[in-house]
């Protein structure tokens, strides 16, 4: 099991509410800005996209890389973060 960051653990610990997109694991300032430009200004909107892609980690990772220019590591981290959040709260 890969070690998760504090950010990941914080996000997965509670309902996301209105948290900004930068609260997601793997999404920092730069990627957050790119996502906001595309209209994904809140974490729950990205969650919406994840759900639209049927919670498929690969598809979501690919989408995130295409949309925000994220690298594989960050995209996978975000994907995993959302997956665990869904497992806990969805």
């Amino acid at each position: 099991m890969s070690t998760t960051s504090q950010k990941h653990r914080d996000f997965v610990a509670e309902p996301m509410g209105d948290k900004p997109v930068t609260a997601l694991s793997g999404i920092g300032e730069v990627l957050g800005k790119k996502l906001e430009e595309q209209g994904f200004d809140r974490a729950f909107v990205v969650l919406g996209q994840y759900l639209l892609l049927r919670k498929d980690g690969e598809l979501f990772t690919e989408w995130l890389k295409d949309t925000s220019g994220a690298n594989t590591r960050n995209a996978t981290s975000c994907s995993q973060c959302l997956r665990e959040w869904c497992d806990a709260f969805l």
């Binding site: 996209q49 759900l51 639209l52 892609l53 049927r54 498929d56 690919e62 989408w63």
Partner: protein
Amino acid sequence: MAALRNKSDQEIKDLLDEYGIKHGPVVDTTRPLYEKKLKETMAKAKVTVTKPSPDRTFYREDQEEVTYVTYQTPVSIDYFSCLRPVFRPHVYNTPSSSSYSKPTPVVKSGGGVVKKENTTSSGRLIPLWVQFLVFLILAGFLYFIFTNMESAESSPFNRIQ
């Protein structure tokens, strides 16, 4: 293929299903991703299908008689830089000659493609029907020998003269 961008959402969805790509609903946020995936898959599919095998045309030009030359992969590479490893039989030696002529006319790409699909799908070095033919000939030959031997009285294969 026609521009994916101009297709309706339903058509994109149908194409995704056709290629067996796992997907969710086609919405404005998911559409670019699916278009990209379709483009990649279609490009890959096109590469594997439209690769004719040049050695089939060689067969045709050879005399109908029996021995076929080895076809080495460099020949095919000269014609088309094939990505897929091409399956090549080494030597064909058949006793019967006339029955060996290829039934289907070898047209450059179309026939060649069909032929290619046939051989590679069975994955044999010598086509199946050749094997059957050889087997039947061998069996018949052995039977012929057997019946014509000076056999003992108790042989079941004695003909009633």
